[in-house]
């Protein structure tokens, strides 16, 4: 009953906001809409496609051709349904996340059971009970439904709503053992925005864990399913564009080379605005490697027993370091934070991070207005705000990881912080 009320309230809130006069302003906000996902670009792309002009010839549309024809169909047949559709997709995402988190809790409990022998006697109280954990999935639902970031993302009717739904579906089906569905959904999300490709690693790990049996076979199967479905989607897209693969330059090429320097909440825009021309390629490579390849291997090796943590951290990292992030991505990974409620007591920067999120969210639109409309500020102000927003997210991620390893240590070695009767402190060595 409670859940239904939550859905209802969240749905009505979103639907109502789409129909207010402020919708246009929200849909055009730089924090919500990027060149990749904005509603305006979607309309332009669909319009051009409808007029038999290749939308990928110009610079106005960067979504995948599959999204293009789906929305072309919707615009032609039932344009009035779109606000409702976006609301429904977002609610579906919430419910998928809810389901996924329930399955994650089961996996988590299994893990805890397996590793119980390593736990020190005095730390036995720290082990989580089923009831405690079951509560967290309710929090996941509430956080996604009422997080202002995800609400605004849905109200802005960005294609990130679809991407979040696909990611949630991939995670949910992986946690429940539906390998093919998970791979297909993830491939679609990757086809849309490239960065979700990172999730294939934790998903493969979860699938191997859920479907008991040969681990390596499962990895290979997952990877194969993912590559095949991704390739299939690329082929289908080319088929839609009359066999031409040129759209790739406008989708993946656009994501990778960052030709549009319109400000967003990420780190790329001002960095590449101010970049010296002969260093541009070097730094584009460096930043993209940082976003796509740098952290995946070490984090996987370090947290191979904790695919759930890996999912959360990789989602967050790829949001911070992607070329065109929006607050919809932030809202999505934030829904996973309640899963780590038991780590909160080990986190040190909760207050700082929370304050930074609130302050930057308020300051961002303010300095944007000052810069663009009143002309009394300049680009540095907005850059400063996006920098601190990124820093806050990074602090959140690293704090979460530190909290996790501290808890792990405490579980194994007890609460005592004494070595041979002398006071000691925890350090990394």
């Amino acid at each position: 009953m409670g859940a239904i009320i939550k859905y209802l309230v969240a749905g009505i809130l979103r639907y109502w906001l789409i129909h207010t006069d402020y919708w246009q302003i929200l849909a055009n906000r730089v924090e919500i809409a990027t060149p990749l996902n904005s509603w305006k670009r979607l309309i332009e792309g669909v319009y051009l496609y409808d007029q038999d002009i290749n939308p990928y010839e110009g610079d106005s549309f960067h979504e995948s051709p599959i999204i293009l024809i789906i929305f072309h169909f919707l615009f032609k047949r039932a344009p009035y349904i779109l606000p409702l559709l976006f609301t429904a997709i977002d609610l579906l995402t919430a419910s998928l996340l809810h389901k996924a988190s329930k399955a994650f809790v089961r996996i988590f409990l299994n893990c805890q059971q397996k590793n119980q022998s390593d736990v020190a006697d005095e730390s036995k109280d720290m082990l989580l009970s089923r009831e405690q954990l079951m509560e967290t999935s309710e929090y996941v639902l509430s956080v996604y439904l009422f997080n202002p970031y995800s609400i605004l993302n849905c109200v802005g009717m960005t294609t990130t709503v679809v991407q979040n739904a696909l990611l949630a579906a991939a995670l949910c089906s992986a946690a429940n053992g539906f390998g093919i569905v998970a791979c297909a959904c993830l491939a679609f999300a990757t086809h849309q925005a490239l960065y979700p490709v990172l999730q294939i690693v934790p998903i493969a790990m979860i699938l191997a864990e859920v479907n008991k049996g040969c681990d390596k076979c499962s990895y290979i199967r997952t990877l194969l399913a993912f590559v095949v479905s991704w390739g299939f989607l690329i082929y289908i897209s080319a088929y839609i564009m009359d066999g031409s693969y040129n759209y790739v330059y406008n989708t993946y090429g656009f994501i990778l080379t960052i030709p549009d320097l319109k400000p967003n909440v990420g780190l790329f825009w001002y960095f590449f605005t101010e970049m010296f021309e002969h260093f541009r390629l070097l730094f584009i490579c460096a930043f993209q490697i940082n976003a796509l390849a740098l952290y995946i291997v070490p984090l996987t090796l370090r947290f191979k027993k904790e695919p759930l943590l890996l999912i959360t951290v990789l989602l967050a990292l790829s949001t911070v370091f992607r070329s065109y992030p929006c607050i919809g991505d932030v809202g999505f990974y934030m829904a996973f934070i309640p899963l780590w409620r038991h780590l909160f007591s080990f986190m040190q920067q909760k207050f700082i991070v929370a304050c930074a999120f609130i302050i930057t969210s308020a300051l961002g639109p303010t300095v944007w207005h000052l810069w663009i409309y009143s002309g009394s500020a300049n680009a540095n102000f907005f850059f400063g705000v996006t920098l601190s927003f990124a820093t806050a997210q990074i602090f959140l991620i690293t704090d979460l990881l530190f909290a996790y390893i501290k808890r792990e240590f405490t579980l194994r070695n007890g609460f005592s912080r004494m070595v041979d009767g002398k006071p000691a402190k925890l350090v990394l060595r």
Binding site: I53, L267, M275, F276, L299, Y373, K425, L428, R429
Partner: protein, 556 residues
């Protein structure tokens, strides 16, 4: 010097004329008063080249001819303009031109790689006229589909748009340094003939000035078995008589000196003064004209006073003296005129509005060419005609979307303007954030948006001064009634102010952004490579002791 050399020159000229029997040169000046207080002077210098190769020409500028033959150009139009032609008050000029530099050319059908040829042509012309045409790149070049038609006598009657390239540089500033090489192309340069009147001191002070070179191929005879190359150099000037502080004008007042006779190499040297307005606001020409020509063309009656200028070295000064009675007079607006402006505030979203006004009693078909640079991305889905997304007025449409740093946005609409109506075209754009090195010097000055081209087949010749397509000299305008009168017009340009980054701190930005990346990299690296251990801390040290320790280390 003096008379004997002059006679010698004329003799040489006559001999060469007999030998080569090729090129002819005409110089013409048309003066037309615009009511209430402007004066339009239009110079045209026409060289007709008969010979095939550029070597045996004697009047035509070899530098230009070589460019034309080298790059296989069929037709070429190049103008450098400062100021804004006011179509509503002034009617239509003989050749309209976009503000700044404008270049368009048709290449012969043998040219396969038109783009590279176009780049070479603009570079060559850039050197010839000292203009910044080398800024013409792919990202500001378009291929108009309907708006521009060749005026050449071409083997096919079709508009071969694949061979056409168009570019305009609205930021280009026109100066003396462009006029001097332009005058060098004339056979008499600036020593003799009408070009002696073109003092840069005087003409750069006008309200509007435009110099141009137009090269095309025309039929030498009726059956078009032979083709001549026509090189037409034009100067359009609009004087504001309020600045001269008198309605009376004369060559001395306008050009700073009188006309020192015709160019001896010219076949004809004629001055036409439009005296039609004499009926409403009487004036007296001094000296009185040799003859008066009446012309009836497409429903408008025009009267020209004609002077034949001789190459006898006699100083000629033509002027007009108005009667004492100064009646308030207004000009009748032309059949179509237009207006263009930028909408919106802030530096995020905006719109371009083009208003087209048809005040004729029949519908007029026009082609509107909107040419938005790549840094002003227009959204076709936001195109509204009189506020409607779907309009019956649009008969045909061509759109080529732009690409950042590669291709401009190019929209062409064939529209039927209803009689006595105002049609408003609105299209939205988004401001682009450029890389810091892409901003021009003085980035906050604003960015120039080129003018739209409007091509119309006018049903009336009211306020229409262009020559008929087959005509070369100005006398072809006399009684040249046609079913319609083609006009290629340019709207005014516009200016937008793009958002700018802080140009002074690239290093800071690079350092700060990298620091944030390092903030993630450092802890993640630690977490992944190190393990947590308990390390005994010694007895707690007081702050003073810590400071003391610091000093001790320094002493070591």
């Amino acid at each position: 010097m003096g008379r004997s050399t002059f006679i010698l020159r004329v003799t040489i000229f006559l001999i060469s004329l007999i030998c080569v029997q090729g090129d002819t040169f005409h110089e013409e000046l048309v003066i037309k008063p615009f009511l209430p207080a402007h004066l339009y002077t239009y110079f045209q210098f026409i060289t007709l080249v008969n010979s095939e190769s550029s070597e045996d020409t004697h009047l035509s500028p070899r530098s230009l001819l070589e460019i034309v033959s080298r790059f296989q150009v069929d037709e070429l139009h190049f103008t450098l303009t400062e100021g804004q032609w006011r179509h509503r008050q002034w009617g239509y000029p003989v050749f309209d031109a976009a503000p700044g530099a404008e270049l368009y050319a048709w290449f012969t059908s043998e040219v396969k790689d038109v783009d590279s040829q176009w780049k070479k042509l603009s570079a060559a012309l850039s050197g010839l006229f000292c203009a910044s045409l080398n800024f013409i790149e792919n990202f500001n070049t378009i291929t108009p589909q309907m708006a521009l038609w060749p005026m050449s006598a071409l083997p096919t009657n079709k508009n071969i748009t694949s061979q056409l390239r168009y570019a305009s540089l609205p930021r280009e500033i026109v100066c003396t340094e462009n006029l001097t090489p332009w005058k060098k192309l004339l056979p008499c340069e600036s020593s003799q003939g009408f070009s002696a009147l073109l003092n840069s001191r005087m003409i750069h002070n006008t309200n509007y000035h435009s110099i141009g070179v137009h090269v095309r191929k025309i039929c030498a005879s009726k059956d078009c078995s032979e083709i001549n190359l026509e090189i037409k150099q034009t100067v359009s000037l609009v004087y504001d008589l309020n600045i001269i502080k008198s309605m009376d004008w004369s060559f001395t007042k306008l050009f700073g000196q009188g006309l020192p006779g015709a160019c001896p190499l010219a076949t004809s040297s004629k001055v036409y003064v439009d005296v039609t307005s004499n009926a409403t606001r009487p004036f007296q020409l001094v000296p009185p004209p040799e003859s008066v020509i009446y012309s009836q063309r497409g429903g408008s009656d025009t009267t020209f006073a004609l002077y034949n200028i001789k190459a006898d070295g006699q100083m000629v000064t033509i002027g007009a003296k108005h009667g004492s009675k100064n009646a308030l007079t207004l000009s009748t607006p032309p059949p179509i005129y237009f207006n263009r402006y930028i909408l919106g505030y802030g530096k995020e979203f905006g719109g371009i509005v083009t208003e087209l006004i048809n005040n004729f009693w029949t519908p007029i078909e026009v082609v509107v060419l909107e040419n938005a640079p790549w840094w002003l991305p227009i959204q076709l889905s936001s195109l509204r005609i009189n506020g409607e997304a779907k309009s019956d007025l649009v008969l045909s449409r061509y759109y080529s979307p732009g690409r950042s740093r590669q291709k401009p946005y190019h929209l062409e609409l064939l529209m039927k303007l209803p009689p006595r109506s105002t049609t408003t075209l609105t299209i939205d754009f988004e401001f682009i954030f450029l890389k810091w090195q892409e901003y021009p010097p003085d980035a906050n000055h604003g960015f120039y948006v080129g003018s739209a081209i409007i091509t119309a087949n006018l049903p009336t010749a009211r306020n229409y001064t262009s020559l008929p397509i087959s005509g070369s000299t100005f006398d072809s305008i006399i009684n040249a009634s046609k079913p319609w009168y083609p006009a290629v017009l340019r709207t005014n340009g516009a200016m937008v102010s793009l958002p700018t980054p802080d140009f002074s701190m690239p290093y800071n930005v690079i350092c700060l952004a990298c620091t944030v990346v390092a903030l993630a990299f450092g802890p993640l690296h630690n977490i992944c490579t190190k393990e947590l251990v308990l390390k005994p801390t010694g007895t707690p040290v007081s702050l003073t002791q810590k400071i003391m320790n610091l000093f001790k280390k320094k002493q070591d």
